[in-house]
């Protein structure tokens, strides 16, 4: 007799979430960060509505410092799958020539990512936004609901979240309020890789090891993706075999030395990984409980 595997159960649960949101909201959108979790989320959305097209657009908040390969990949996926992808960049940030070097990572992230996202949600009037966050990523995310409510100002209040009983989601909201929905809540990083492998889901080549130009800063390896990265005195980019476990803005994302050029090799590295996934991201280390603070402010 057929039996549902662990991944099939997770897949089915996520598809159920997608359909509930589409059935009960007016104007949903999927936040597409171009990373591996977004790739899985996109794949699940396609499965949930097949043979129909995905009944909502994707949206990428482009902070102008994304890896170039991410943008190339985004455009390829847009074409290959005939997707409706909205790209938004905070125009105020562009005017101020916002960058993480002169303004610091906190101000930069707030303006380009958090504010940019809020702007885009307001402009298009989206009342539900799918995000690829997982509960295993970080301590405060372990307590995140699958349906997370945001005030009109897109703020998250950890004390007023609704209880989620069985698989009965309450997606009702007042005009102006919105929900963030996390269909991958119950997936672990390992599940994501295993699923990408089994379903042959395309991902950005940056996840695979390759010789790339890097400099070492505060123990992190930062890739010199373009000429905008200011080099400090004595810093000389060197070509090293690196890959990324997580993707964001290139000046804020640490690489790891690796020879893993195939998915099985990545999975093997993940199996014996000594560092949890978010350590590669500089923003989590800004302050104690920093993710929770960012979430309250409206960061995903």
């Amino acid at each position: 007799m057929r039996k549902l595997s662990h991944l099939q159960l997770l897949e089915s649960e996520s598809m159920h979430i997608f359909r509930e949101v589409v059935a009960e909201s007016e104007n949903p959108v999927m936040l597409y960060s171009v990373g591996k979790d977004s790739a899985v989320m996109l794949h699940l959305a396609r499965k949930a509505f097949y043979p129909s097209k995905i009944p909502f657009p994707l949206m990428h908040v482009d902070t102008t410092f994304k890896f170039r390969e991410m943008i190339t990949f985004r455009e390829k996926i847009r074409k290959d799958l005939n997707l409706d992808i909205i790209v938004h960049t905070n125009p105020d940030g562009i005017k101020q020539n916002m960058n993480p070097f002169d303004f610091g990572s906190e101000v930069y992230t707030n303006i380009m990512k958090t504010k940019g996202l809020k702007q885009a949600l307001n402009i298009h009037g989206f009342d539900a936004a799918f995000g690829g966050a997982r509960r295993d990523e970080e301590k405060s995310r372990a307590k995140e609901r699958i349906f997370s409510f945001r005030t009109k100002a897109h703020q998250w209040d950890p004390k007023s979240q609704r209880p989620e009983l069985w698989s009965l989601y309450n997606s009702r909201k007042h005009i102006g309020e919105s929900i963030r929905v996390f269909p991958l809540s119950n997936w672990t990083e390992f599940d994501i890789w295993q699923y990408i492998y089994q379903e042959k889901i395309p991902i950005v080549p940056l996840y695979f090891a390759k010789k790339r130009p890097v400099v070492e800063r505060n123990g992190s390896l930062i890739m010199v993706d373009d000429e905008r990265l200011p080099l400090f005195a004595g810093e000389e980019p060197t070509m090293r075999n690196i890959r990324f476990r997580t993707l964001g803005c290139y000046p804020l994302t640490g690489a790891q030395i690796s020879n893993a050029t195939t998915l099985p090799q990545i999975i093997q590295e993940t199996m014996i990984a000594k560092f949890s996934e978010r350590q590669g991201r500089v923003i989590d280390h800004d302050q104690n409980a920093s993710m929770e603070k960012k979430k309250r402010e409206g960061y995903f």
Partner: protein
């Protein structure tokens, strides 16, 4: 290792992963029973922490200083800043780990009494519960409260972990006393089986490895037990049900119904019934993006295509035609109130059950449950964290099964219509339609079936219709005598008794006659509830008023009797000069004269004074009542 070998071993590893089962368990107990420490210990000892997490943990432990130089495992799982400051877990947290045998999702829930609702949230998703008891303190209010919730939400596997054994010198006697006390309580609450394990989460005894400090404990350590305990998926053995989430229409040639299978399995060719409509069809295709399926299983998200174009949309349920669930708009339900605002009896909330959202009126609790003593107590409302049994009336027909039969078909949430917040979780105990218990009263255990059974009859309303002086009252009286002689309890309602009392405020006009008819139907329903057989003798001219009466009384106990006497015969039988007055225009609105009489389209019984004597007519009805099982003929 060369690349090729790496790939082969990873593939093997992935295949091994696929064989693992997934177990979701909840940890619960009082606030200081050590849940976070236990989970932290499970994660730490299963070597599932990354180095950066361990580094952060060691730094945090030294900073907080709660365990001296030792590691405070609780810091690992207490995520939110506010709760780290207060030292209590205030929300539901989900943790992940896996062993060689299984993948686990740990649902960590708060112990504090004010967060009982969060614990219930966790329990609604769990297949197993670990109930922690502090060895020094024994059973607490929370132990009992949580046991009750675990039991009512149908979490079948229970582990009782007596924690902090290090603080009672690993005493076997002490442990046995606690287990004896819990065994007694479990019996009362209805938990049939549980596994008891003495542990120390702080010191690691019997968590991963068997403890050498408690040689008297012969059974498995906690982790080993979690790895091997069997948890059957009861949803597999149930008949097929799927709530329709979304109608999939990519173009005019394709119409599929998307949903996640609630229970049972479905195969191409299977007959399915759409409820509440009742339309039947056959599954022609089971769609998934990978390939069409021949068979789909519980929990699987699929899209079904049917052979016929039947009316089916979100909120409806597709069910196996072989075994269909019930439909009702009135339920007896067990509710846990989750809002700071008390329940408002009689107020309408939104009820989400399956994929349907309907208005639902919650009546005053029949009783609340004192979880400590498990006794029923009278209550006017339910407050935050209180549980009780209420009757719920819904606007729409709802497809359901009792929670104990099929969990996913009998659970619901209530939503406040103004604030949109989820205010209660509920499970359906049974259909309340059949019993017709008056909803807002406290104790009504004697229902209409019992009353009627005492009288050796089934209640029924005989609704006569026909022109005035057609003979309705004569027939009814003849039947009344027969019924009385047969030992039955019956009663006649006619114009005289009604217009002089019940409806003395009304005029004999169209609209008022409809209102009179409505009142009479309500009285009939009440008399039926009292177990009586009722006969109504009115002209009852309109199709619509008879339709309304049938709905009020219920079609199963409504018999429409058409006394088809022509106008001229009725006029001839008139002994009061009623028709003469009408002919002279002294009275108006008289059926057959200046008002159209609408004869019934499908009467149950047709009689006429030309064809039957009153006694014969009464015999016909009497025999029909026997045939339909409302009465039994008294043997002499």
């Amino acid at each position: 290792m060369n690349i090729q070998n790496a790939e082969i071993s990873v593939e093997k590893y992935i295949n091994d992963q696929e064989k693992k089962s997934l177990l979701r368990f909840i940890t619960c107990g009082s606030v200081d029973d050590g849940k976070s420490t236990l989970i932290g210990r499970l994660l730490y000892e299963s070597k599932l922490l990354f180095e950066d997490q361990i580094t952060a943990l060691e730094a945090d432990s030294i900073k907080s200083g709660t365990q001296g130089d030792g590691i405070d495992f609780a810091l690992l799982v207490d995520g939110l800043a506010s709760e780290r400051e207060q030292g209590i877990t205030i929300d539901v947290a989900y943790r992940f780990f896996s062993t060689k045998a299984r993948k686990f999702i740990v649902i960590d829930t708060p112990g504090h009494e004010q967060y009982t609702r969060n614990m219930a949230t966790g329990a609604s998703q769990a297949q197993l519960a670990i109930l922690l008891i502090d060895a020094r303190l024994g059973l607490s209010t929370q132990t009992k409260r949580h046991s009750y919730i675990i039991k009512s939400l149908g979490v079948n596997q229970v582990v009782v972990a007596v924690n902090k054994m290090d603080l009672v010198n690993y005493s076997q006697n002490h442990y046995n006393e606690i287990i004896a006390e819990y065994t007694e309580f479990a019996k009362k609450v209805g938990i049939k089986n549980f596994k008891a394990i003495p542990i120390s989460a702080l010191k690691g005894d019997n968590v991963i490895k068997k403890s050498t400090r408690m040689p008297w404990y012969k059974s498995k350590a906690l982790m080993n037990y979690l790895d091997t305990v069997s948890f059957d998926n009861l949803q597999t053995s149930q008949p097929f049900r799927m709530h329709v989430q979304w109608v999939n229409r990519p173009n005019s040639d394709f119409r599929g119904f998307s949903g996640r299978i609630t229970s049972g399995q479905i195969q191409v060719g299977d007959k399915v019934t759409a409820l509440p409509s009742g339309y039947e069809s056959r599954v022609t295709k089971i769609i998934s993006m990978d390939a069409d399926l021949e068979i789909a299983l519980p929990n699987e998200s699929i899209t079904l295509c049917l052979a016929d174009e039947i009316d089916l949309s979100r909120g409806d349920t597709l069910c196996s035609s072989v075994d269909t669930p019930k439909i009702s708009d009135r339920f007896k339900a067990n509710i846990l109130w989750m809002s700071e605002d008390d329940m408002q009896p009689g107020q309408t909330y939104l009820m989400k059950i399956g994929t349907r959202i309907t208005n639902a009126t919650v009546m005053k609790p029949k009783y609340a449950i004192d979880i400590n003593t498990l006794t029923h107590i009278s209550a006017k409302t339910l407050k935050l964290n209180e549980t009780g049994v209420c009757i719920i009336n819904t606007d729409q027909k709802v497809v359901f099964e009792p929670y104990t039969v099929n969990k996913e078909m009998g659970n619901f949430i209530l939503i406040n219509r103004l604030t949109n917040s989820t205010v209660a979780m509920g499970i359906i105990e049974q259909d309340a339609k059949a019993t017709s218990i008056e909803l807002s009263t406290d104790k009504l255990s004697i229902d209409r079936d019992l009353r009627a059974g005492q009288k050796n009859q089934m209640p029924v309303t005989l609704w006569y219709t026909g022109l005035k002086w057609s003979g309705k009252t004569f027939i009814a009286n003849a039947l009344d005598r027969k019924l009385f002689a047969n030992g039955n309890h019956s009663f006649i309602i006619d114009s005289n008794s009604t217009w002089k009392g019940l409806s003395e405020d009304l005029n004999y006009e169209d609209a008022d006659r409809t209102e009179n008819s409505r009142r009479v139907a309500q009285v009939c329903d009440m008399m039926n509830n009292a177990g009586l057989i009722v006969q109504t003798c009115f002209t009852s001219s309109f199709l619509s008023e008879r339709r309304t009466a049938k709905k009020t009384i219920g079609e199963d106990n409504f018999i429409e009797i058409y006394v088809n006497t022509p106008l001229e015969v009725a006029e001839a039988q008139d002994m009061t000069g009623f028709y003469k007055k009408a002919r002279r225009g002294e009275i108006s609105n008289i059926a057959g004269i200046d008002l159209k009489y609408e004869p019934p389209l499908y009467p149950d019984i047709v009689l006429g004074s030309q064809t039957h004597s009153y006694e014969e007519a009464a015999d016909i009805i009497f025999n029909e009542l026997i045939k339909r099982g409302f009465i039994k003929k008294l043997s002499n």
